[in-house]
Amino acid sequence: MTTRTMQFRIYRYDPDKDDKPYLQDISVEVDATDRKLLDAMVKLKAKDDTIAFRRSCREGVCGSDALNINGRNGLACLTDLKDLPEPVVLRPLPGLPIIRDLIVDMTQFFKQYHSIKPYLINNDPPPETERLQTPEEREELNGVYECILCACCSTACPSFWWNPDKYVGPAGLLQAYRFIADTRDQATSERLDNLEDPYRLFRCHSIMNCVDACPKGLNPMRAIGKIKDAMVRRAV
């Protein structure tokens, strides 16, 4: 089997040992079965086991291996190795505190996610069967519910970099719309109240970095636009 050597440049920082972060040059042999970036990173880890990164499902479902790959946010397990110019520069997701190497502290990101109450609010007694929707009502949730909370979008958003404590961010707002759009949810007005603030929703200036970054091909900006539409419809 043919193998080739790939060059990597990896962001390294261990707060217990290093005064400041640095970039480490390292190479690894990959063969034809190594198709995704994560395959090469697993080999890198075997070569130098001090490199720290998160990974779990290795198939784009868990969202744990989100990285900044050659300057763009993405999932290592969904990024094709053959398309990557070398050296492949791997950095942690921008804008979040770094725990070690490629591992970031996602506390702020999840705090914003929880702030939009990401669960169905319906005070009616549960029916005998499911709470039903028409196919059209269900269709509205497509392209919204698939978010895996990898944080690629929110950490690509300058508004989230400047105000991560106040701006919900594209991932949280996509989820907010998922429940605003859900016909089974009864808290639409409270949800809109929760976002009608110059910071929480309206820091979005529609620059579309989130759309560019989303490894699942979702469009948080469109969802943000629909939340604004709902607010306008409520107000006028």
Partner: protein
Amino acid sequence: MVNKIVVGAHYGLKDWLGQRITAAFMAAYTVIFAVLLAGQPDLNYETWRAFMSGGFMRFLTFLFILSLTFHAWVGVRDIWMDYVKPTGLRLALHVLTLLALVGYTGWAVSILWRL
């Protein structure tokens, strides 16, 4: 209240919608202005003055000045909100921005009615 993040000022929608509407008005004004100006037989100070001091243009230009004031207020305030963190400093910058914009508006309106 030391480190608690406080959000929920309910003026986000009004400002965002206002900024969109004023932008649309200014875009329309620019087209109307360009078309009417191009239709002037010959462009010198006198025709320009007559053009700008007519009731229709004065009405539109007055609205344009007000639109620009509101639009610039939201835009500049957004910049302060993004980049200036200390509340006192931000409030001071908001006030200075407002004072400057109100001053410019009065000045522009007085010029418009002097033509």
